[in-house]
Symmetry: C2
Subunit: 433 residues, 2 copies
Amino acid sequence: MTPPVDGSTRRAVLAAGAGTAVAGAAAGVAWASRPAAAAPGAASGGALSATDGVVPFRGPHQAGITTPAQDRLHFVALDVVTDDPAALRDLLTAWTRAAERMTLGAEAAPGGTVGGGPYGVPQDTGEALDLPAANLTVTIGYGPSLFDGRFGLAGRRPEALRDLPAFAGDDLDPARSGGDLCIQACADDPQVAVHAVRNLVRMGFGVVAVRWSQLGFGRTSSTSTSQATPRNLFGFKDGTANLKAEEAAALDEHVWVASDDVAGGAGGAGGPGWAAGGPHLLPRRIRMHIEVWDRSTLQDQEDTIGRDKKDGAPLGQHGEFTEPDFHARAAGGDPRIPVDSHVALAHPDHLGGRRIRRRGYNFTEGTDGEGHLDAGLFFVAFVRDAHRQFVPMQRALARADRMNEYVEHTGSALFACPPGLPDGGDWGTQLFG
Amino acid sequence: MTPPVDGSTRRAVLAAGAGTAVAGAAAGVAWASRPAAAAPGAASGGALSATDGVVPFRGPHQAGITTPAQDRLHFVALDVVTDDPAALRDLLTAWTRAAERMTLGAEAAPGGTVGGGPYGVPQDTGEALDLPAANLTVTIGYGPSLFDGRFGLAGRRPEALRDLPAFAGDDLDPARSGGDLCIQACADDPQVAVHAVRNLVRMGFGVVAVRWSQLGFGRTSSTSTSQATPRNLFGFKDGTANLKAEEAAALDEHVWVASDDVAGGAGGAGGPGWAAGGPHLLPRRIRMHIEVWDRSTLQDQEDTIGRDKKDGAPLGQHGEFTEPDFHARAAGGDPRIPVDSHVALAHPDHLGGRRIRRRGYNFTEGTDGEGHLDAGLFFVAFVRDAHRQFVPMQRALARADRMNEYVEHTGSALFACPPGLPDGGDWGTQLFG
């Protein structure tokens, strides 16, 4: 087994002893081609492994989309502050290298924390030095504003990458919305996710600035059953009907942008074809008015969701994964699952078959200044076309969803994720051509 | 083995199978006396156990002070909004019952989530229904303002429980400072800590309102070595010289309020004697200017802290736990550990032997609106007398600490924790007598 070429890879990569992890670390350090074994079988988005804790960075699609949700999220939206396209391109290239290293459990740069000597500025901030890779994934996306002409990218904007319309009831905070770029870092340790975002932001001084960021929590691997559906802050299981990583055909239909989707635009090499294989990433910060919710009856809550609180079964049925029966009637003749319940309105049967891949995290951060906790769901959807999938769904929900009494959308953005990177590829070359 | 008396205890308590955990759950449900075995050996603050994940709630001191730091923190400061002392007293009594239940992995009330039937308002919000106790501790404290006369408690204020002076460089946000009461919830799962705070706040509708709250993260049991000193967001090990749970005599000297300390005041049964055995709890929200820090050299960083970044050893020495040698000289004749380094200024040798118990957590939440991450350390100190221990330490640091270039104190408060509760005791009776 070849040892890593520098001595500063983080603890667990050295300690893991797993051949792929260490070979991977060496490849990351040397920026060499990854071993073939890591390519298709272990492609991005594969199942998490408790033994090595490394999610492959490269593959047909970016990691962090169909990857089973890790415990923690740090999401950041950035604005580009330079007007030099080359600076942006170089940053994207450098980010690729650092992101791949960190997903392997290595420092952001070789010898990053202390290897640069006393007079050097450390190239890694060090707070993850003793921590393993923790299943870190780093997922990048580009907002519509990145293609406004500042960087010569106007011809490369996919037609579907345009700002979302306003929805009834939206209360969007501009300081929590939009952005030229985004980075989604997910890991089983919050310090690892925060470290990844921070080091990428640090590398971008003078090129990008943080516009907004969001920390989130979901399951905790060590205390929850890894296969159980986690609960949101309404106390209900959330994600039961999510599009699963195993549904390859459905992912092709609903999540991955097809080549034909981006064949138009300015056309040719300078066109939007780069976006094929990468979904739209659509974050919504959904504040939950938990104090109001907590004063409603169990029946109100279950009628709002359309599911049983304890087990997550559709109302009047048994079993969390039972398909909801919207024709079943209660004693009085009304539908057992209210037509304006969240489950009914968001169900593909009522949305022309549309489905989305969700990857949300709960959040709590301080108060609203009026004695209430500022808490809710940071909803992240991955879809092939936000305007054809999310917009009709959200219009239906915004119009009638019983849940609107308890939620408020306070942040929103839209990004196009590039597809995964092949060996030797990088984000700068991928976007700028 | 006696099963729990209601069927709604949370998953892990039922699954644990450990006699003490299940017996404890039954005791919590029935509000009966706890088994004697849980008293001294397994007293509050004992070592965490990965097998049962339950930290005893009762004992001579509250849990969450000398208890080894759990992975996550949710801290909330509250103001009392009623002027009815009986309502406050009743809430404190009800909180005791709910807090003890939750630390055992049970719901906040029997049958809390769904047991109240469709027309009842659930007495537990349910988001922790499938989760184990996760070593939850709930620690309560009372601020100086609680004793201002509104509740007939003026005579019960310990003399040392008075507002802190201002320190040079403070930039305190009133919306992140002060409070009549505080609750510190720590657990290995953030959802368990958030659930505990939320349910206690929910019970307090009309009696208390949230003034501010803070989420924090530290080590992650499943990815870090449990005995290793975790790193703060400066990338340095933090807590090496902390006062340890095993140092009983030092805890008596520096952390636990002695009976003599609170023998004065209005005297007798109505006096401040209730506070004996409980330390002052002193939170400081310390914003780190990580962008400035990240542009400084390794030597600047190490000279600021006074320790080696990689291993945490005092500068010029070896081993994290080596006692710093402040007399050692560098080649040029200057002290090897700068006299204005954080370690030098905060060392007991330079503070008349004063020591504190720290229990800080890292935080990251959004941005400061100027392109920077809002990140730092939520510092929580436990001391016998904040004015005799923390004030001289912070005055010395505020005057000269090199670290001041990189930090800003943006929140502060002071609370007196009551001591631990004996079997059958509750916070309402303990405070009001």
